[in-house]
Amino acid sequence: MSVTKEQVRKIAEVTRIDLSDEEIEVLLPKLNSVVSEIKKLEEVDTEGVEPIAQITGLENVMEEDEVRQFEDISALVKCSPLAEGSFIKVKKSL
């Protein structure tokens, strides 16, 4: 399995990163280098082995579904580069 330009283009679309063709050219050999390492997993005999889910054995840590108010909501809004008053103004999506 070798990574193709088409695969990278599709992934860039899904991950919302505007990669140019030149950037994809640069990334491709590096991606293939990493994938070559990952492919070594194929040699391991994992017959009968369950995939590990949580490394310290935690299960279903529950919490009451209570509403808690953050003390300073305006401070959160101010973090946005698109803040206008108490709103965050974004580009049209349709």
Binding site: M1, V3, Q7, V8, I11, A12, V14, T15, R16, I17, D18, L19, E23, V26, L27, K30, L31, S33, V34, V35, S36, E37, I38, K39, K40, L41, E42, V44, T46, V49, E50, P51, I52, A53, Q54, I55, T56, L58, V61, E63, F70, D72, A75, L76, K78, C79, S80, P81, L82, I88, V90, K91, K92, S93, L94
Partner: protein, 481 residues
Amino acid sequence: MITQLSLTQTHEKLKSKEISCVELVQAYVDRIKKYNDDMNALVAVNEEYALEEAKQRDEGGGFSHPLAGIPFVLKDNYCSDESVSQAGSHILDGFQAPYDATSVKRMKDCGAIVLGKGNTDEFTMGASTETSYFGVTKNPWDLERVAGGSSGGPAASVAADLCVFSLGTDTGGSIRQPASLVGCTGLKPTYGRTSRYGVMSMASSLDTIGPLTKTVEDTALILKELAGRDVQDSTTADVPVPDYLEEIKKDVKGMKIGMPKEYFVDGMEEGVKKSIEEAIDQLKSLGAEIVEVSLPHTKYALAVYHTIGPLEISANMARYDGIRYGLKGEGAEDLVDYYRKVRNEGFGEEVKIRITIGRLIDAIGYADKFYKKARKVQALMKRDFDEVFEKVDVLVCPTSPSVAFKIGEKTHDPVAMYLSDIFTMPINLTGMPAISIPSRPSDNLPVGLQFIGNQFEEEKVLRVAHQYQIATEWASMRPEM
């Protein structure tokens, strides 16, 4: 010099009023002004804030808590309300969090003072701080070499005495490897021993919060305050916190220390090998029993890590969209175009590589083959460690196969860089605690000795590390600057 003192030594001086908190903080600020431009360890410095806090500590008096008035550095991915947090990335341009991470709060509640933010590889993805948007952090022992990564800034700050201690994060070795390369002490606790709330996630099942210090004794002190359940981080464990400071005083006579043979293969630098072998002889003379053990699946750690890691990374990086925080996108036609432009401009190459690998692995036809497979091999790795820990108390090995490499030496191929973490990655995959402390330097460059323990057995790891440290002189060495 006051800035060479450990945390416990500094505390004694503050308590006895031999030095005021303002004098202490000023001394560190002066060192930062003198050395940081060349080193680039700190990407934000809170001079005014820190001195104001110091004044308050002096007026409040007491210094009863060991951490009161102690200036420390936070890795740039920690949210804290007194300075910007940019995770070494352009996409978080100017972001200042309106709250403190739990780990920061725990330190501040004890009276510690945030001096500034330490440089990191972008979103902690790297082993040299070379992917930081703010430039590389240079090794105080040789400015042409890296300080390691991703906690290069926090590590270099401690090693160069620009702070008393720092807090970093370790996902594949990012506390231990830089500690090894700059010659300070760095602990990665058990996954879930410390709280990640308010620390920007890279790979959520692997990230761990930990301290970088001048001594193991300092580590024990800080860990006592950092450790423990946090309701805001559901991955923290409800396991009692031992009295680490008492535990480290116990000697190592009769302790069984395993030497995993897979960590002593060719490919290690000769100087590193000699340093570690000498340390192992030292441990024998302290009364420990050295046992050869095997961790057969070690060689797959890189493959497992770079399968699971990128998948989690791609999910964690989705929130950086130029809407809620950070970089403002320009020239977009609509919302999706906005995301695309911000993320392409805001993210560096390594982040893009890992996001892409993450999505690739999850694609139809590959998820079972790679991701599920990786989780099975991870289970086998855990089993290797569990079996070994039935026979020994802790493991000993090198932290890094080499001393600090030259800036630019490994940036041509991602895998070359990934191999720097070959001895640290497996431990993140099994959730275990591990520490790196200085052993004999090689050609005047620091070498790191690593001790690994079973989950939630930090007290054994700290005990061996401390006993070795007080029997040797390496922790007191400082770079000539």
